[in-house]
């Protein structure tokens, strides 16, 4: 043990350098894996509707999303700087962030992400991260470590209101798109033209995702480096952190996401091009407006709200409320479930280096186990098209419901 004083003058005890290096390396590895799983989850946010409507081929869509996530990750570091601010009280009366605590929180987030990925259930990676960190902090320093008013105003309320906002916006935009292009004389309406627009609207969502979600991991790694006294508090994110996080999220986006694309694109509602364009635009507009006022949003929740809203905005379409309910339950469970796993991991991590290693081993076993289980019914770009097309055929849809108003003769 070494005794040291931080920049606030508080005295702390630190483990020997070898232990610290080991823990920091483990945290960085796990943070990058979290970034990777984030990519796995969130490909669907931008690309589910263009794939469902046929605006983009699945492989092309996932590649485009990966590239835009990579580019987006380099474009800002603001979220990375604020990731740890507010939710967990630091300093006097609060909790001192340690690499072990961050590691335990990450274990909670990663395990919950993997479970929801396996079930094809959209959950929020951001909320999984917040939940994991909160759970670990409560075990590490008690309930007083959490700034609950901030959690309510910055996490819980936006989580409830953002999907509703996106759904309402998507509903209105879909109604407008159909009303403007509707022909009462039975002549072609040209709605296939919305497929071209979708390529751009979905790209905007993918780029926005890259500028936000990769930053969360950058923030966690920077926090760990500061906690380990390897970086000065308040300093910029280091370039190697930006590069590795950008690559990790892009790889995750490229290699995963098929399972959730299937749920979001066709499990909720059958998406038509005009509807898909409206949903994508509503998602992008909601994320942009929210970022402007500083809400930390889940892009998954916003995208799901838009898909449901646009489904309701289409005449003769049917939203599968059972699937929608499953998604809602996934959202509600994310924070407490990730918090519970994070808390459990923090309890073990309290044992010291041995505890952290136990956490790491158990986490790896769970992740590999879930991954191997998921391989039994693998969904990839080779079979996702036919599966999705088949499910599309299985549902009876009124292809061209007759307009209520008759054309003037």
């Amino acid at each position: 043990m070494k005794v040291f004083t931080d920049h606030r003058g508080s005295v702390h005890y630190r483990k020997a350098p070898v232990d610290l290096t080991l823990i920091v390396v483990l945290v960085i590895a796990l943070a990058l894996f979290f970034d990777f799983t984030n990519g796995f989850h969130d490909t669907a946010n931008a690309m589910a509707t263009p794939i469902a409507t046929g605006a983009l081929r699945p492989k092309a869509a996932v590649t485009l999303a990966a590239i835009l996530n990579l580019v987006g990750a380099f474009l800002s570091t603001e979220v990375a700087k604020t990731i740890s601010g507010g939710i967990i009280r630091e300093g006097d009366g609060g909790v001192l962030i340690t690499p072990e605590l961050v590691f335990a929180g990450l274990i909670g987030a990663v395990v919950w992400n993997m479970i929801t990925w396996l079930l094809g259930l959209p959950s929020s990676s951001s909320h999984a991260l917040f939940g994991g960190l909160i759970g670990a902090a409560i075990v590490g320093a008690g309930l007083g470590a959490i700034d609950f008013p901030v959690v309510v105003s910055k996490v819980i309320l936006p989580a409830l209101l953002a999907p509703l906002t996106a759904g309402l916006v998507a509903y209105a935009a879909t109604k407008l798109a159909y009303a403007i292009t509707r022909r009462y004389d039975g002549k072609p309406d040209g709605r296939d033209g919305f497929r071209y627009a979708q390529v751009f609207s979905s790209s905007l969502v993918a780029l926005a995702h890259g500028t936000n979600d990769a930053q969360k991991t950058m923030g966690v790694i920077t926090l760990t480096l500061v906690a380990a006294n390897l970086q000065a508090p308040g300093s910029d994110v280091q370039w190697w952190v930006i590069v590795t996080c950008a690559i990790a999220i892009a790889l995750g986006t490229y290699m995963g996401g098929w399972r959730i694309i299937k749920t979001l694109g066709t499990g909720l509602t059958d998406v038509k091009p005009a509807q898909g364009f409206a949903a994508e635009t509503a998602t992008a507009a909601t994320i942009l407006a929210s970022s402007h006022v500083g809400f930390a949003l889940s892009t998954t929740q916003v995208a799901s709200g838009s898909v449901i809203g646009s489904g309701l905005g289409r005449r003769g379409s049917k939203v599968r409320w059972r699937t929608a309910g499953r998604i809602g339950v996934g959202w509600l469970l994310t924070l407490p479930a990730a918090g519970a796993v994070g808390a459990l991991a923090a309890l073990v991590a309290h044992l010291g280096v041995g505890g952290v290693i136990i956490d790491a081993v158990v986490g790896v076993i769970v992740i590999i186990g879930i991954f191997m289980w998921s391989r039994r019914s693998e969904v990839s770009h080779h079979n996702v098209v036919s599966e999705v097309a088949d499910s599309g055929r299985a549902v009876k849809i009124k292809r061209n419901p007759k307009p209520k108003r008759k054309a003037k003769k």
């Binding site: 105003s153 209101l161 403007i180 309406d189 296939d192 071209y196 097309a389």
Partner: protein, 116 residues
């Protein structure tokens, strides 16, 4: 302290922004169809689309579009005007999207340019 005004701001700005982009693009498509150039997506472009479009369906759609264009009550001048209007609407929609991109990256790019 919860700032409810921020939530209202998000709702109104997202609603207005999305509706402007979608309405402008939809109006563009409407005008493009009026000008006799109905957008048709061929199966060659989207071979693995979920909404399956067969070559026969595309052929029938093209035939319907050509027939509708032939029976259009608009004069050639009005059709040209509709075409110009359509591209104007697409441009307006694109500008609105670019404004959105600027909202994401503008501050960062300004800082980058300022720092260079």
């Amino acid at each position: 302290m919860i700032d409810w005004l921020d939530f209202l701001l998000v709702l109104v700005s997202a609603l207005v922004g999305a509706c402007v982009v979608v309405s402008a693009y939809a109006l563009g498509i409407r005008l493009l169809t009026l000008s006799g150039r109905t957008p048709l997506v061929t199966p060659a472009e989207f071979t693995d689309a979920i909404t399956i479009v067969t070559p026969a369906e595309i052929k029938a759609a093209a035939k319907r579009a050509a027939k509708a264009a032939k029976k259009s009550p608009l004069t050639e001048g009005q059709k040209r005007l509709a075409l110009v209007g359509a591209w104007g609407c697409f441009a307006l929609s694109a500008i609105a999207v670019l404004v959105g991109i600027y909202l994401i990256l503008g501050e960062h790019l300004t800082r980058l340019v300022g720092g260079a």
